[in-house]
Amino acid sequence: MSVTALLVKPGEGFVETPFIKDITERALSYLRAGFSINLAGPTGSGKTTLAFHIARQWGRPVVLIVGSEDVTSSSLIGGEFGYSRRYVVDRFISSVLKVEESFHKVWFDERLVIACRNGFTLIYDEFTRVRPEVNNILLPVLEDRMLILPSALGEGYVRVHPMFRAILTSNPEEYAGVYKAQDALLDRVITISLKGFDEETEIKITMARGHVPYHVARKIVRIVRRLRESGLCEYTPTVRSCIMIAKVISQQNITLHSEVFRKICFDILSPKIGRGRSGDINAEVLLNEVLGEVMNERD
């Protein structure tokens, strides 16, 4: 049985702006001081990408666990799966036949044990989607640098490697399929609250991932940000919407002032606007209003 560790590298769509540099530097200073961190922020605030970037700067291989209802203690630390049989026929003395047969359960290590033992960086994405009692295993790891393993033979301990760090990500605003993070766990990590990227970073990301020039990326980002800042949308539009719009228009060579661009914006952004927070918003009217404002703005 094998466990995959990741050697993370920045892809061509990754941009490092002063905003990202600042967060990365802060996070690295906490890691250097021996603490693990929790990147908390809403959807589209770049938690997972930042976690990978920080882990890359930390310089150790990464073990990734994605939180979900299905994650159990066994998925984190491993367990006893299957049996191993040993059968020995001893013919050392030809006239004496000695047969030994023994069975024992086979233990397989999972990602958390591998990370603790080898000093890898654990990225625990969306840890609040996992039942809190499962995450209890992290408490002694973060506090006492000791991983406690249950075993049929008694309790086993793994001393946590000095380079081991955990980077957790969580979305405090999400309301479906999440659990409240334990105080004990949050008390052991330093939480960096991400409010979303600044405009310049969003433009750079849209340019790099959507393959559009600066002025096009800026218009797209402004449309999305204007909607977000209006506070009227049912779901907050994120930089992902900017990337989607940019990718589609760059592939189809669509200009910003064409009717097709308006339709693409409508398809991608209207589900975010929905019926609005008050329940009486017309998505098309709001979007047309925002589009009109942004398109008429002078650069």
Binding site: M1, S2, A5, L6, L7, G11, T48, G78, I93, V96
Partner: protein
């Protein structure tokens, strides 16, 4: 000094017994040669029996020796096996040297 008994040799006892038997069968024997010949045959048979017993005794000794040797070898073997397993079990973490230790595979990913 007729009061002192001479040690009775095996030969004389046999001689007397044979003579008695022969006399019972054929009447009194006077022929010294016949007596001597019978005596010699009896002695030869005795020697053969003695040789058989000696061979059996030696065989028994050899077997005993062999058993002792085997027991020694077995004892040594068991002791070494025990030492070996003790050494194998010495570990801070019961899983640390175990064959179940998971293998780590590295994969490059881009973010």
């Amino acid at each position: 000094m007729r009061g002192i008994k001479e040690p009775i040799s095996n030969t004389s006892i046999i001689e007397k017994r044979i003579r008695k038997e022969l006399e019972a069968k054929y009447g009194p024997i006077l022929d010294e040669v016949t007596v001597k010949a019978v005596k010699m045959r009896e002695l030869e048979a005795l020697r053969k029996v003695q040789a058989t017993i000696e061979r059996a005794r030696l065989k028994l000794l050899r077997m005993k020796d062999m058993m002792r040797l085997r027991q020694e070898v077995r004892r040594e073997y068991t002791k070494r096996l025990k030492d070996c397993s003790e050494k194998h079990l010495k570990s801070e973490d019961p899983r640390i040297d175990s064959e179940e230790k998971a293998e780590v595979v590295f994969t490059e990913v881009y973010y």
